[in-house]
């Protein structure tokens, strides 16, 4: 028994020794750590901080390309290209002051300004020095500089600059859409930022990739309905007309009849979307869509169509416009001269206000309002372009007699150029109303029948006479094609009435008239005082653009005599 106790004591003593030993070792170790930590904090702080800077784990954002904008044939309208931005950590740059001069020289910037900028933000960890440099150049700039780094970014280029600027719009320096399609389809084209975790050394070089946190995804390509060839032709014609007539502004819009696609949309003045610095707000407006004007005589075909569809008149009805003026509720409606008795075609050909007023007064206000409304007046066109104007068409309950009469020749209401073009596609498309679109359509949209096929065809035939001898727009004629259209010369309204010397010249038309493919509306705002009629100012622009468009699109001429065609056919067969 006693021996067992002694044994146990011996064992306990043995363990005790071990305990003490382990305890001492642990205390010594902790003591060592504390002393070491204190030493590091106190004596080697600056050295270690620098070492730490050299190898740090950073989360780096990775960017990807924004989607391009292309035209219907794949031509590039806007593309993002990689560029590098130079950024610095001021503390590191200023540590070796001679670097500032080197940077200034390489970037062609003022040394004083850089110095000032760095001093002012000396404690920042990130200061942009210069953004969007060509990658090769950027590499040369930061070579051997301690504290200058590159950041990959993307810059948007618009190769056709001002020709299609109003359609594309533009982005800000961070590639976010601000105007036009860039704004409207920002979500579609936007790239998704990615990020990865890396260990960087002091030169900003990645030493080790820790992990990829999120893959960057490039944005999607946006295919527009624009045909760049036609856009260019339209731009050129409109620009030369606006210059020739010393006009304030102008717009043209070319629409494909069967689909409602906008093939070309141009405005003057335009702007260069590549150069944000020189943009003037007034030039940024896509006037064809955002600006409203009184459509004037270009409304007459719709007044006629409404009367025909409501069976108030027939295509061969006659109306007496003598003596060339008409008094409605004490207001005078005047014609250019006394045209006497005219048939309905004659009213459109001569653009008789009196005749048109008599037509709508035979119609009820409600019927005319319903018809105009169904042709899309006072409504958005469906393009959803930012800042689109809906136009103004007051409710018929507010119309008095004179208001009704003025609607016949397009006063007392307003429309955008795009809206007017959309309404003309109703006449061109056998009475079907389509939404306009700036995106390429793969399938023909259904459309809504808002005018009978017969009326649309009748009005089209009537509008052909406008271009023929005796009509107001002989300058809109195109050899080889039948053209249907209508002129407008609108007095500009101002507070308290209409001006006497400021006009908008308009021409709206379609070709080839026997089976229209294209609708084109041209407006020239405030042409000079000598020549200002729609038929003299806007019609030649129409003819020029339309002729080229028909040629480029290979549209079959419909005004070559049958005899000639059959001879050629016979010749081709042998």
């Amino acid at each position: 028994m006693s021996r067992r106790v002694a044994d146990k004591e011996h064992v306990n003593q043995h363990y005790m020794m071990r305990h003490v030993f382990v305890l001492v070792v642990i205390v010594l170790m902790f003591g060592g750590l504390v002393v070491r930590a204190a030493y590091l904090q106190a004596y080697e702080q600056s050295f270690l901080a620098e070492q730490g800077d050299q190898r740090q784990i950073r989360q780096i954002k990775t960017l990807s390309q924004r989607g391009s904008i292309i035209d219907r044939n794949g031509e590039v309208l806007a593309v993002s290209t990689p560029v590098d931005s130079v950024w610095v950590i001021p503390r590191q740059i200023l540590a070796e002051p001679e670097q500032v001069a080197v940077l200034a020289k390489r970037l062609a910037l003022d040394e004083q300004k850089i110095q000032y900028k760095l001093q002012r933000r000396a404690t920042s960890q990130f200061v942009y020095l210069k953004r969007h440099l060509e990658p090769e150049h950027a590499q040369r700039v930061v070579r051997d500089i301690k504290g200058a780094y590159l950041q990959r970014e993307y810059r948007r280029f618009y190769p056709d600059s001002e020709i299609v600027g109003h359609v594309t719009g533009f982005t800000n320096i961070d590639d976010e859409g601000l105007e036009g399609l860039e704004y409207l389809f920002d979500d579609w084209m936007e790239s998704k930022k990615g990020s990865r975790m890396v260990v960087q050394n002091r030169m900003g070089e990645v030493v080790e990739e820790v992990k990829s946190l999120q893959q960057a995804i490039p944005g999607k390509v946006l295919q527009t309905s624009i045909d760049m060839r036609l856009q260019y032709l339209a731009y050129r014609s409109l620009k030369s007309a606006v210059q020739q007539h010393k006009a304030v502004s102008g717009s043209a819009i070319l629409v494909k009849v069967k689909t409602g696609e906008i093939l070309a949309m141009v405005n003057q003045p335009s702007y260069n979307p590549n150069d944000r610095a020189s943009m003037k707000p007034a030039h940024l407006r896509n006037r064809a869509i955002t600006d409203m004007f009184e459509p004037g005589s270009t409304m007459k075909p719709f007044a006629v169509a409404a009367a025909l569809d409501n069976k108030i008149f027939h295509a061969d009805s006659w109306i007496d416009t003598a003596p060339g003026w008409l008094s409605v509720s004490g207001n005078a409606i005047k014609d250019f001269k006394n045209y006497g008795r005219l048939d309905i075609t004659g009213i459109l050909r001569k653009s008789s206000n009196v005749g048109a007023a008599k037509i709508v007064m035979a119609l009820k206000s409600e019927k005319l309002w319903q018809a105009y409304k169904s042709y899309g007046f006072g409504d958005l066109t469906g393009v959803e372009y930012p800042g689109e104007a809906a136009g103004y068409l007051s409710h018929y309950a507010q119309w008095r007699n004179f208001d009704l009469a003025t609607k016949a020749y397009g006063y007392g209401m307003s429309s955008s150029v795009a809206q007017l073009a959309r309404a003309y596609t109703v006449i061109a498309n056998d009475g079907k109303l389509l939404d306009l679109s700036l995106l390429k359509q793969d399938v023909e949209p259904e459309g809504r029948q808002v005018m009978t096929v017969k009326t649309a065809q009748t009005v089209r035939t009537m509008l052909e006479s406008v271009i023929k001898p005796g009509g107001t727009a002989q300058k809109a004629a195109i050899r080889g094609y039948k053209v249907a259209g209508k002129t407008g010369t609108v007095k500009k309204s101002q507070r308290g009435g209409y001006t006497e010397d400021r006009y908008i010249a308009v021409f709206a038309g379609m070709a080839p008239a026997s089976n229209p493919e294209l609708v084109l509306v041209v407006t020239v705002n405030e042409p000079g005082k000598d020549v200002y009629y729609g038929g003299a100012v806007a019609a030649p622009v129409f003819a020029d653009i339309m002729q080229n468009a028909l040629r480029v699109l290979n549209v079959m001429p419909d005004d070559i005599s049958v005899q000639q065609a059959s001879i050629i056919q016979a010749g081709a067969d042998t």
Partner: protein
């Protein structure tokens, strides 16, 4: 006792193999990372080149430029109605 030794020895060998494997995989991941960076840089260079070519292409196919060349250099003219025939 000897059984324990065998187990310990076995585990030791396993640990050793695992350690070597870790080193090997780490090395491999470094190699692959170098590769992916090289490829990413290549991709980057190609992207830059591609957008440059796109811009160049659209400059050269610019309608205004083509028209100027066609009219001035090549003395081309627009064919107007009496000079073309339509084959049906």
């Amino acid at each position: 006792m000897s059984q324990r030794f065998i187990l310990a020895g076995f585990l030791f060998v396993l640990v050793f193999i695992s350690a070597i494997a870790v080193v090997y995989v780490k090395q491999q991941s470094r190699d692959l990372y170098t590769q992916i960076r090289v490829l990413q840089k290549q991709q980057d260079a190609l992207t830059i080149n591609w957008s440059r070519l796109q811009l160049q292409h659209s400059t050269l196919t610019n309608a205004a430029y083509i028209e100027a060349v066609a009219r001035k250099k090549l003395s081309m003219q627009t064919v107007s109605h009496p000079r073309y025939v339509v084959l049906q």
